[in-house]
Structure formats: structure tokens, C-alpha cells
């Protein structure tokens, strides 16, 4: 639904793109707020947000059940949805800017798979670590390993698919397939040697939804993703210059090596965190930047902020659908994002094929 809202915006005259991009910050923020209120208000259990608000105003107490549903189930879930959606969309923008290629997306080219391998490694081999270290790391262990997995996958992918500053689309996609296959095989091996408890942990993790969100997950993921997004905006000008090619960016005064390793690191952090807390959720990273580029152009500065907002709104919207469509059961959110995202993506491709220059 969020995707439809953005897609329906008319493609503005090119001259206005900068001011449109600035207005877009406001519209997308409003969209995110509306989505958030909807997300807090609707759900399988009958806990009305409106009733909670009126209770606050009039001083009445709301029931303990309602309080728990709102504050300990829906609110952390909403915040995690915002975090993951923003992280996925921003990773998409960063990867596309880095590879100078609108088809780059962490889910498609094996970076999410690398993060998954990291997470599985943490679940299966984590207990081998010294107990003191484990106690210290706590819930952050999976996140840390997922980040490391995503980082290594990014480094391999960049090394393989980029030669002399040029990335071939075909090589990148094929390298991504090989990388996903390899990490899948190693993950499989780890699952094979896992014991029953670890298998349970793994299964819960790999279900890949925002269900069962605890405040602990929010506290791990949200600050890092927020920091990654803020740091990413500092790479915006460099990524604009990089669109002209690596040599041209250098001539324009950009320290390209620093820019590239920064983009790789931030993509890995955002993707790793998103995968660690929510499993694999696809299409946000490719659809959101595409829609925004069509509306406001490829300038990375507004694009990064807008992508974070639209990605968050889109994922929160998808989560509402996943919770309410077959309530009280839940649809995996990855299915919802794919069903919403893939057709929109195809439609954009058909309509503006020349412009995105594939």
C-alpha cells in the first residue's frame, strides 16, 4: 500500500526535482506516522489504540492486557519494523550507488545470504565460545556474526565483480548467485551438525518475521541502524560523483577508496542487523530506491533519507497485512513484501525502461 502511494505520484518536471525531493521528506514522514498509528491500532487481539488514548486523556486505567499488548508487543514490533525497513532500503541505495547499478540489492546478490550464514554460525558454533564472552555479548552475538557475514560477502562480491572500477551487471548477478549457493551450502552443513536446541533456535530465527519482537532486539538494532543511516548521508555527495565512474569521482576530489570501504561497511552493518533481527525480507532494497529515483531523481542526499522513510513505512504496512490477513495466524512478512514489491518493480521496468537504462 505504501508502494502504491509513492508510485501514484506523478513524475515531476525535471527542473522541480530538488524541491520535490525536499517535500517528499515531509510526505513520507507523514506516511510513516499514519502507518505507525495503524500498526499500533490494529492486530489480532482487540486492543484499541483509540481507547488507550482516551484512557490516557480521561485518566482511566486501561486493562493490564491492553497495556502489555500495546507497550510490550506492538510498540517494539513497530520500532523494529521501522528499523528493518529503513535498514533494507538504505542498504539498497548504498549498494546501487557503490556498484553503480540499479539492480544491486543485498537480497539478490548474496549479501543477505552471507548475513544468514553469520547468524547460523553464531547459533550453532556460538556455544563453543568461552562462557564469559557469551554472557557479555548476550543477544548481540547473532547480530555481530550476521554483520561479519554480510561484510565478508560484500568484500568478495566487490572484488569479484569489479575490475578497474567498472562493475559488470552480469558478473555481479552471477557472483551473487554463486555466493548465495556457497553460503547456503555452509549453512546447511552447520544445521546438519546442530543439536536439537540449536535447531529450535535456528528455526525460530529463520522464520523471518517481526513476530516475537522483544525490546532487547530493538535496543540492539535501532541505534546501529540509525547511526548507519546518518553516516550514509555523509557519503551522498561521493556516491553522486561515483555515478560518473571511479576515475571521474577521484578527479572531482573524492577519496574513492575511503568512500567505497565506507559504503561496503555501512551496507554490511545495515543488512547484517536487518537479517539478524528479522531473517530475510526481500524487495524493499530494490523497489524503494527505484520508486524514489523516478520521482525525485538519483541525487543520493535526499534519496537516502527518503528511502529510509519509505522503506520503514512500506515494511510497517507489510507487517500490518501479514498480521491481519490471516489473523490470528501470521503470514511471513517476506511473502507480503515480495507480493507487493515484485509487481511494482516489473511495472516500473516496463514503463520507464529507457530511463533506468538497464
Amino acid at each position: 500500500m505504501a508502494a502504491d502511494t509513492a508510485a501514484a505520484l506523478p513524475i515531476p518536471k525535471v527542473r522541480d526535482r530538488q524541491s520535490v525531493a525536499r517535500w517528499m521528506h515531509l510526505w513520507l514522514l507523514l506516511l510513516l506516522i499514519v502507518m505507525s498509528l495503524l500498526s499500533l491500532g490494529y492486530g489480532a487481539a482487540d486492543a484499541s489504540l483509540f481507547r488507550a488514548f482516551t484512557a490516557l486523556m480521561t485518566g482511566d486505567a486501561i486493562s493490564q492486557t491492553e497495556q502489555i499488548i500495546l507497550l510490550d508487543i506492538r510498540l517494539p514490533r513497530l520500532l523494529l519494523g521501522i528499523t528493518v525497513g529503513a535498514a533494507l532500503a538504505v542498504s539498497g541505495v548504498l549498494m546501487q550507488g557503490l556498484f553503480r547499478n540499479p539492480l544491486a540489492d543485498p537480497g539478490i546478490v548474496g549479501v543477505s545470504a552471507g548475513a544468514s550464514l553469520g547468524a547460523v554460525t553464531a547459533i550453532v558454533l556460538g556455544p563453543l565460545l568461552p562462557a564469559a564472552l557469551l554472557a557479555l555479548m548476550g543477544g548481540a552475538l547473532i547480530a555481530l556474526f550476521a554483520f561479519a557475514g554480510a561484510w565478508i560477502a560484500m568484500l568478495i562480491l566487490y572484488r569479484v565483480s569489479t575490475r578497474q572500477g567498472r562493475t559488470s551487471v552480469a558478473t555481479m548477478l552471477l557472483a551473487g548467485i554463486a555466493l548465495a549457493a556457497l553460503t547456503g551450502a555452509v549453512s546447511g552443513l552447520l544445521i546438519y551438525i546442530a543439536d536439537d536446541q540449536q535447531l529450535r533456535d535456528f528455526t525460530f530465527w529463520s522464520l523471518g518475521s517481526l513476530g516475537g519482537t522483544s525490546w532487547a532486539k530493538v535496543w540492539i538494532a535501532a541505534p546501529i541502524v540509525l547511526a548507519a543511516i546518518l553516516l550514509a548521508t555523509r557519503l551522498a555527495h561521493g556516491l553522486n560523483c561515483l555515478a560518473l565512474g571511479e576515475a571521474a569521482a577521484l578527479h572531482l576530489g573524492i577519496r574513492t577508496e575511503r568512500l567505497k570501504s565506507g559504503a561496503v561497511l555501512l551496507t554490511a552493518a545495515a543488512t547484517g542487523l536487518a537479517v539478524a533481527v528479522s531473517g530475510g525480507i526481500g524487495f524493499i532494497g530494490i523497489v524503494v530506491p527505484h520508486l524514489l529515483r523516478l520521482a525525485t531523481g538519483p541525487d543520493h542526499r535526499p534519496l537516502l533519507i527518503n528511502a529510509a522513510l519509505l522503506g520503514a513505512a512500506l515494511l510497517v504496512g507489510a507487517d500490518i497485512i501479514s498480521r491481519t490477513l490471516v489473523a490470528p495466524a501470521e503470514l511471513p512478512i517476506g511473502i507480503v513484501t515480495a507480493v507487493l514489491g515484485a509487481p511494482v518493480f516489473l511495472w516500473i521496468l516496463l514503463r520507464r525502461r529507457g530511463l533506468v537504462d538497464l
Binding site: K13, V14, R15, R17, R100, N101, P102, H237, N240, C241, A243, L244, G245, A247, A248, L250, H251, L252, G253, I254, R255, T256, R293, G297, P298, D299, G354, L355, V356, D357
Partner: protein, 257 residues
């Protein structure tokens, strides 16, 4: 003064440039000529600070290898042979990237003036990817002009490094671009340009560097470098050059003799 001392470039096991020493002075157009694969582009890339090389290169005393890219961006701008763009930027956005990298960014009319200079008035809102090859080349030229808009700042020259700037241009725009380079040099800036067209070289160059097999075969004023014997040896074909009747400048008509 652009000075290169004993430059060698090896990529893989192949030596592309060996022992090239050359100079280019501000106020002049220095043309690099030579057959395909003779190392022209590699020499220009070394001068731009793009590729690892032995020997050292200085730009007005500043070591190219160790200088801050942002500082260099204020001193020289580089036009590549072709620039494919990954995303649908408009012409205006492309040119402003150059303006932002240079020292004259505060001038709001800079982008339009640069576009006017390359005969692309009104092209600002158009999509770069929808332009023809020649128009794209001129947009890129506008971008680097916007980067080093003033040929001289406080007596220090700015530099244009151009890799075949006229390769996909029609006759009129070839002349337009070469006149731009000439004006830039006359105003105190320095221009180093790779040219394939020996007639344009004869018309516009103040100094010629003739490359052959990765070495600098000849350098000097056009009259002394552009001789039948030099051209014949470097390009492996016999030629006969003539003087154009009106201005007494070198010209050459490619044909069999």
C-alpha cells in the same frame, strides 16, 4: 608547470609506458599524439593521478601521487573519453557535480554559463542518458569547465586534461571545443589534450608530445615534431604534409602515396 620525470607504468606484466619525461607549461596547449596503443591515454591518466607509476609527477611543485584529491580537484579537471552514467541524472545535475568540486561553486550562474560555452543552452533539464554521444561529450566538457572555471586564480594556473575531447563531435563543434581550450590557455591556464586529428594538432597546439610504443618519441613545437619523417615512423605509414596556403600552417590529407 606540469612536470613528469621518468614515468613508467606497468599493468600486469605489460609495460605500457617506459621512461617518459615531459613538461607542459601554462598558457599553452600541449597536445599528446601518437598511434593507437602508444600510451597516450596512460600518460594522461598518470598525469591525472589515476594509476600507480614509478618516477614522479608534479603540478606546480605539488606531488600528484601524495596530494589530497580535494586539493587537486581545485587545480585541474579531467575529461575522460566517454562517461556512461549509471543513473538518470539531468544535464544540470551532472554539470553541478563539477561546479561543486571546484572553487567557483558559489556562482549560481556557473552551470548555465558552462553549458552556453559548449553550445548546449537550454539542455539543463534534459536527461543525460537521452543525449547523443557528441552531446554527452560536451556535457562532460561543461562539467570540467565548471570545475576549473577561472583559468588562473591569484596567478596560479588551472589545468584542463582532455582525453580526445573532439572524438565524437561534428566539424563545427570540434573547432568550438578547440577554441575553448585555446581561450583557456590564452587566459593563463594550462591545457593538455590527446588528439587523433593531426590537422587540429597543427592548427591549435603550441607544443606536441609524440608517443610511440610507450615512449616519448618527439616533443617540441608543432613545426619540429610534425614532420613527414616523424609521423611516418610513429604511425608506420608514409605521409606528405603541406602548408595551408592562407595561414602557412601544417596540414595533412590522409591518403595513399
Amino acid at each position: 608547470m606540469f612536470e613528469a620525470h621518468d614515468i613508467s607504468v606497468t599493468i600486469g606484466r605489460k609495460t605500457i609506458l617506459s621512461g617518459v619525461s615531459c613538461k607542459a607549461a601554462p598558457g599553452q596547449i600541449t597536445a599528446i599524439i601518437g598511434p593507437n596503443g602508444s600510451g597516450k591515454t596512460t600518460l594522461l591518466r598518470a598525469l591525472s593521478g589515476d594509476i600507480p607509476h614509478t618516477g614522479h609527477i608534479t603540478l606546480d611543485g605539488l606531488d600528484i601521487g601524495t596530494a589530497d584529491p580535494a586539493l587537486l580537484a581545485g587545480l585541474r579537471a579531467v575529461l575522460p573519453q566517454a562517461t556512461p552514467l549509471a543513473f538518470p541524472f539531468t544535464v544540470q545535475e551532472v554539470v553541478s557535480l563539477g561546479a561543486m568540486a571546484g572553487l567557483s561553486a558559489q556562482d549560481p550562474t556557473l552551470v548555465e554559463r558552462a553549458l552556453a560555452d559548449v553550445d548546449l543552452i537550454g539542455y539543463g533539464p534534459r536527461f543525460y542518458q537521452e543525449l547523443s554521444g557528441g552531446e554527452q561529450q560536451r556535457v562532460q566538457l561543461a562539467r570540467i569547465l565548471a570545475q576549473v572555471w577561472q583559468p588562473q586564480v591569484d596567478g596560479a594556473p588551472r589545468w584542463l586534461l582532455l582525453d580526445e575531447p573532439v572524438s565524437s563531435l561534428d566539424l563545427a563543434h570540434q573547432i568550438l571545443v578547440m577554441r575553448l581550450a585555446e581561450r583557456f590557455a590564452q587566459a593563463g591556464g594550462g591545457v593538455i589534450v590527446i588528439l587523433h586529428d593531426l590537422n587540429l594538432t597543427g592548427m591549435f597546439a603550441d607544443r606536441v608530445l609524440m608517443m610511440s610504443n610507450g615512449t616519448l618519441a618527439h616533443s617540441g613545437p608543432p613545426d619540429s615534431v610534425l614532420t613527414d619523417a616523424n609521423i611516418g615512423a610513429a604511425y608506420c605509414c608514409k605521409v606528405q604534409s603541406r602548408q595551408a596556403p592562407k595561414e602557412g600552417r601544417f596540414f595533412l590529407l590522409p591518403h595513399f602515396i
